[in-house]
Amino acid sequence: MDAFFSKLFPNVASNLDVFNAAIIQTLQMVVISGIISFLLSLTFGILIVVTKGGGILANKIVWNVLDKIINLFRSIPFIILIAALIPVTRIISGTAIGVKGTIFPLIIGITPFFTRQIESALNETDDGLIETGEVIGLTPWQLVWSVYLHESISSISRVTTITLVSLIGLTAIVGVVGGGGLGDFAIQYGYQQNQFDATIACIIVLLILVSIVQIIGTFISKKATH
């Protein structure tokens, strides 16, 4: 088996520790920034849905500010965003490099996109259900929790799947600040040094990761559809 692996993936085998570390790094980046960004996006997504015109807490100012900020951040190419954030990252994470230094820019990079996705998911909620919640006398936050969120679990897990896969894509770019990870491994060894096997190995692991995310997402989404 080992011999077989070395034969198929000679360059990976000779850098196995780096490769393994890359897997761990990718997982760390995806999991940590994914969780934090999920919470943030949920918050912003909810805010933007409830404050929009006709929403349950309609508020032009808040909505406009959020909408514009999201557009602004979505307009900044990710690599530039990372660079621009370096000083802030250092303040927040203590360092701007390594896995630790990638979490913050990843969060900032993915959250606007994630927020739009969550917004999309929440907007699917049937108006009649919102109305019912209001008629029952739920407070806005009860309404958010018990109607918007509860009824959107399926859609939210669907958009989260899409987003996590995009996030895995972003982790490939954070090599610029020495974040490592599989994407960076593929670039360093596969792309720059033309080690085809390194590229393939990375893609296989990423594919497995993406598929797992997809399967879990689909599963939750199905479970939540009645």
């Binding site: 019912t132 008629v135 029952i136 018990s146 109607v147 509860h150 679990i153 399926s154």
Partner: protein, 350 residues
């Protein structure tokens, strides 16, 4: 006892903008008072504005003009918080049910008291009690998608009742139900009304429902209230054309021409209709005329019922006898002031 007013509409209008140019006035200068503890029915054609009207009561539809009061509070002017408090006292059953698809039946029913101070067990208990009431305890842990239309409606009823509302707004709350279930739900509503003094507002197109439990009704036509009053007087003596038509649909006395064809009158026989028009004590008319004029009165169609203890309806009869006796009979009947007589067909002229 003059019950105090619970809901009051003052010159309420509601306009929907269909597009930039067109608009649609769905309620026109509606004035309405619903007294505490009453069962108030709202009837009218499809599209008359009934749903819109009751949706104004809890403020999910905002009146374009005029004022809607709930217990002296002007609904449109309330703060969001005050409005929420009021809504906590108003149960509502939507025409299209609006069950939460991602919640089980029990969770759906529990929703209005989910954030109350009741404990989980207490809530479950109340939920099961409600489901028992609507006959669906075995569906507690299934999801709405697996329910039939009528079952969904019953869940909506259970949900609307769980937090003991002061007033219950029912938008066609029994329209998807079979007559048996309808009757049991109506019985339940009536019981709630009698025992707990819940005020009921029923939008319905089932005249049977109106007859069975309403105290008062309002008849809506194209957004206008054309008639309003207590059920008996309106049923006995409808003023508006529309009301008459509605009431006629509940009556079997409208003998269709196809029915007339099946009745072969001979000789002097006459086909007549007798209708009660006042609420005086019932008189054994048929017996009287039979004895008095030796006439045979064959009841073809009968539709008499007791509404709040008073007779309502009439009979369609074939009178058979000598020409003179028949003439006397008709004369006698026309002399009675609590009935109205109409001759459909006269055997002599056939």
């Amino acid at each position: 006892m003059a019950s105090p007013e619970l809901v009051k509409f003052q010159h309420v209008s509601k306009v929907f903008k269909t597009n930039k140019k067109k608009s649609h006035e769905v309620l026109k200068d509606v004035n309405l008072t619903i007294q505490k503890g009453k069962i108030f029915g709202i009837i009218g054609y499809s599209g008359a504005g009934k749903s819109t009207l009751i949706r104004c009561i809890n403020g999910i539809e905002k009146a374009t003009q005029g004022k809607v009061f709930f217990e002296d509070k002007e609904v449109n002017k309330l703060s969001k918080k005050a409005l929420r408090q009021i809504r906590g006292q108003i149960g509502m059953i939507f025409q299209q049910f609006n069950l939460m698809p991602a919640r089980t039946i029990a969770e759906n029913v529990a929703l209005p008291i989910k954030y109350s101070s009741l404990g989980k067990e207490k809530i479950r208990e109340k939920v099961m009690e409600m489901l028992e009431l609507v006959g669906l305890p075995e569906k507690a842990d299934t999801y709405p998608s697996s329910l039939s239309g009528g079952q969904k409606q019953r869940v909506a009823i259970a949900r609307a009742l769980i937090n003991n509302p002061k007033i219950l707004l029912c938008d066609e709350a029994t329209s998807a139900l079979d007559p048996q279930t309808t009757q049991s739900i109506l019985k339940l509503l009536k019981k709630l009304n009698e025992r707990l003094g819940i005020t009921l507002v029923l939008v319905t197109h089932e005249m049977q429902v109106v007859e069975d439990i309403c105290d008062e009704i309002a008849v809506l036509n194209k957004g206008k209230i054309v008639e309003q009053g207590d059920v008996y007087s309106i049923f006995v003596n409808p003023q508006d054309q529309l009301t008459k038509r509605f009431i006629n649909t509940t009556s079997k006395l409208n003998v269709s021409s196809s029915l007339l064809k099946t009745i072969n009158l001979v000789r002097n026989q006459q086909l007549i209709k007798i209708t009660y028009i006042s609420d005086e004590a019932v008189v054994p008319l048929i017996s009287i005329i039979s004895i008095k004029f030796k006439i045979k009165a064959n009841i073809i169609v009968g539709d008499i019922k007791m509404l709040r203890g008073k007779p309502l309806g009439g009979l369609v009869i074939v009178l058979d006898g000598e020409a003179e006796q028949i003439a006397d009979t008709l004369k006698y009947l026309r002399g009675q002031k609590n009935v109205q007589v109409e001759v459909y067909q006269d055997g002599r002229f056939l």
